[in-house]
């Protein structure tokens, strides 16, 4: 199987592009057809198969550019970097290219290479570039040996390095990365660790031994080889570091984010720090999206309207064509109502924020939502949401109505006066609040009236169940008139409640 593509798909999934197994198979088919040669064509093709929304396409573009950047690695490979540093020898550069071509062509059998040709290529190459490079290796007290005959390397990595085959090097690098599971990298402090592990995996120890040995060696060609190997080793380390960096960006960033999301789902909403709001919003939106696809519009076959003649005939054929079981054409979309009454006083404001966010993100599938906010006096805020974006509307609601001391009795009275008449047997009322009434009159009889008229009353209380009857909490009295009273203080609770709501409300 194609490892590269599989990894790419994994990276995409990490960046939140949803890719199913079927789509993975499609991608393999597409790649088989298209091949890896034409990068732009490959990108266009995969962008048809893998991402399925506009947002995903954007993510895909970024991810593709980051993932398929091996061309850059090639350009910086040792032979070519140096080749460009010696403008005096165009002919030789051509020779170099030749040698490179050979190296790539020989592929897997590279280790068994004959000594003469590459060594010769090396020699020539060393001429011009030796001096500027040398300054970088100050720790190296050894005098530069200049160009000349060089012996062949013995260690596997050394051989690979001296071959100038960028393709093989980057392949070996990927293989080593694979072997040490570089994709599991989680936090940026692990970069050094993984760089070292990959180097080790590629045979660094053996190479170091060879370099150290070469330094002590009396023969000039061997010492010369040692110097060259050291230079190349340091170059390789830079390459590996870049490679790890890329892997980190592709894999760890997302899994770190996922970890954070996972935590945020469970954390108490009142404890959410302000800087996480954006992320919470994303999560809410995502959860809402999922619920929305789960509960798409349902239609109800209606008992009157236009006659569906073919259906009726067909259905009644069994009764000798006597038409008595009628079928109708029209179906009616069931659109019940939801009233959300939110306590936005200090203690509960944060929960209200997220519940409203949730309800309004579900616009597509959620029946018409009317929302009310109160701390002492209740007011309808529905049109705030109609006119503004969700975030703005929530901010305005909290600013205008939040902050007072809670008076549930007053709020219920206001509700009764302004819109109890609109409550009918298709209405679901959600009340969000801690039911802490500051020892005021709870006016539970109004709640009873609502209970009698509405289809359902759901009370969401952010406090844990055993605190519901403590102190000034009136939950015991109120819960008698609720169809359902739930503890609700994290996104997970919210998701469950809203999910159930969608199931039962329609």
């Amino acid at each position: 199987m194609d490892r590269t593509l599989a990894n790419f798909i994994r990276a995409l999934r990490n960046s939140e592009v949803r890719i199913s197994t079927a789509e993975t198979l499609d991608a393999f088919n597409a790649v088989e057809l298209v091949g890896y040669r034409d990068r732009a064509f490959l990108k266009r093709s995969l962008s048809l198969v893998l991402p399925k929304t506009r947002d995903e396409k954007e993510t895909f573009d970024a991810c593709f550019d980051q993932f398929f950047s091996f061309e850059d690695v090639r350009r910086e490979a040792p032979g070519q970097v140096r080749g460009s540093e010696q403008p005096d020898s165009e002919g030789r550069a051509a020779d170099d290219a030749n040698a490179d071509g050979q190296g790539e062509g020989e592929g897997g059998g590279g280790g068994e290479r004959s000594e003469a040709a590459p060594a010769g290529g090396e020699q020539r190459r060393r001429k011009g570039k030796q001096k500027p490079r040398n300054a970088l290796y100050a720790e190296d007290e050894e005098p530069d040996l200049g160009p000349g005959e060089m012996s062949a390397p013995t260690s596997a990595l050394g051989t690979l390095l001296m071959q100038d085959s960028k393709v093989e090097l980057s392949m070996a690098m990927s293989a080593a990365g694979e072997a040490v599971d570089v994709r599991e990298i989680q936090v940026f402090t692990q970069k050094g660790l993984y760089t070292r592990r990959i180097m080790d995996q590629m045979g660094l120890i053996e190479l170091n031994r060879e370099i150290a040995g070469a330094r002590e060696d009396p023969a000039v060609p061997v010492r010369r080889l040692g110097q060259e190997l050291r230079r190349r080793r340091d170059w390789l380390r830079g390459q590996v570091r870049d490679y790890v960096e890329r892997q980190f960006l592709l894999h760890a960033d997302a899994s770190g984010k996922r970890l954070r999301e996972e935590l945020l789902r469970k954390v108490k909403l009142s404890n959410v720090e302000h800087r996480s709001f954006r992320l919470i919003q994303e999560i809410v939106y995502k959860m809402a999206k999922r619920l929305a696809t789960l509960h798409s519009r349902r239609k109800k076959v209606f008992k009157k309207g236009q006659l569906n003649v073919p259906r009726t005939l067909r259905h009644n054929m069994a009764y000798d064509g006597a038409i008595f079981d009628l079928r109708w054409k029209s179906v009616k979309i069931d659109r019940p109502k939801v009233f959300a009454i939110c306590d936005v006083s200090g203690s509960v404001a944060n929960y209200a924020r997220f519940m409203l966010m949730f309800l309004y993100s579900l616009e597509e599938v959620m029946p018409k939502v009317r929302s009310f906010a109160f701390s002492s006096d209740l007011a309808e805020v529905t049109d705030l949401f109609d006119r503004n974006s969700i975030e703005d509307a929530i901010a305005k609601t909290l600013r205008d109505y939040g902050g007072g001391s809670t008076d549930y009795g007053q709020a219920f009275e206001d509700f009764k006066r302004s819109c109890l008449d609109d409550v009918d047997n298709r209405t679901t009322i959600i009340i969000l609040g801690d039911a802490r009434n500051n020892y005021g009159n709870p006016r539970a009889e109004i709640l009873k009236e609502m209970y009698d008229r509405a289809k359902r009353i759901i009370w969401l209380n952010p406090e844990s169940r055993n605190a519901w009857t403590v102190g000034d909490a009136e939950m015991r009295r109120y819960s008698a008139y609720c169809h359902q009273a739930e503890e609700c203080n994290s996104l997970m609770h919210l998701e469950r409640v809203v999910g159930n709501l969608l199931k039962t409300v329609r």
Binding site: S20, D26, N29, L48, P51, R54, T293, P310, R311, M317
Partner: protein, 317 residues
């Protein structure tokens, strides 16, 4: 068949052939058609209205010289209108007529069991191919040499209908309870689905399709499109017109003009023998491009500035 094979041998070839049929497209679109043919996969095309989603399907059919079968989706569309329906009238008529001959069929069969056995020998005549009225999806599957099936504005249909499409999209077959499974003949149809994104298409459907998003074209592409569609327009005017439309798309409008509007406008201007844009001309013909009174009123005030800017800019090009 060989001709199609030939035309679809590479994305570039597809693009060239589409251009021969006056459909100017980006390489992304050409790649989509190429992959759809090679992988035998449906394409789901999304994008703002008027960027040529339906046109792509039509042109592809024309290019491959295949029949185009079109299914326009709307709310309430069901299998009876999309896949097949029984010819109820014929069924009823035949039962009435055949009542007379029932005696002959039974031929003095004695007892209930014997009569029923005798009747069973005739099988389900009333639910056989002769009594079936094929609708677009079934028709498309039965086209011997393949065809282009266009399922237009799939977002207008209901969720139930989407699920109905799944079988035909993944396996090119439909199951009819009374008859069995109808599979595509030799060559499966090329399926194009278009969506204006009025609602989210389900994941199950998306999974089975290639997904192509057609955005508004850039200046260069739009110029070429106008050139192909309205070749008689003077080049100077064409440049100004495209630049003007591109500017309009940046404004905050209820409905931004799409390619179809650009083409209409170009035709209008050619009809009026215009050589260059001027504010009065633009004001008079603005209703070709903008479809809401509110938008027209909003833009009216800026016409002069926009026109002079575009004319100047056009001269520089």
């Amino acid at each position: 068949m060989a001709a199609i094979e030939d035309m679809a041998q590479s994305a570039e070839a597809v693009r060239g052939h589409l251009e021969d049929h006056r459909y100017i497209c980006s390489s992304q679109i050409a790649t989509a058609v190429y992959l759809a043919y090679q992988l035998r996969k449906p394409i789901l095309i999304e994008g703002p209205p008027g960027v040529g989603k339906t046109e792509l399907a039509k042109t592809t059919a024309e290019m491959f010289e295949l029949p185009l079968i079109r299914l326009q989706c709307y709310e309430g569309l069901d299998e009876a209108k999309a896949i097949y329906e029984w010819k109820y009238g014929k069924q009823l008529l035949y039962t009435q007529v055949l009542k007379e001959t029932l005696d002959e069929v039974l031929q003095g069969a004695r007892g209930f069991a014997e009569s029923v056995t005798r009747l069973h020998e005739f099988g389900d005549i009333f639910f056989s191919e002769e009594f079936m009225e094929p609708r677009p999806l079934l028709k498309a599957l039965r086209e011997e040499d393949g065809c282009v099936l266009l399922i237009d504005e799939v977002d207008k249909s209901d969720h139930e209908f989407e699920s109905l499409l799944l079988e035909i999209l993944s396996d090119f077959q439909v199951s009819i309870p009374e008859i069995g499974t109808v599979k595509a003949t030799r060559e499966p149809p090329m399926v194009f689905l278009t969506s204006n994104n009025t609602r989210e298409i389900s994941d199950a459907l998306k999974r089975r399709c290639l997904h192509l998003y057609i955005p508004f074209p850039d200046v260069e592409l739009e110029q070429r499109i106008i050139n192909a569609r309205v070749p008689e327009i003077p080049p100077e005017l064409r440049r100004q017109l495209v630049a003007f439309i591109q500017e309009l798309r940046d404004l905050d409008l209820k409905k931004v003009p799409a390619i179809s509007e650009t083409i209409d406008w170009a035709r209008t201007l050619v009809l009026l023998h215009a050589e260059t844009l001027d504010p009065d001309l633009v004001r008079e013909t603005l209703n070709v491009v903008l479809k809401f009174q509110e938008d027209i009123e909003n833009v009216q005030g800026e016409v002069a500035a926009l026109t002079s800017q575009v004319v100047k800019h056009g001269a520089r090009l």
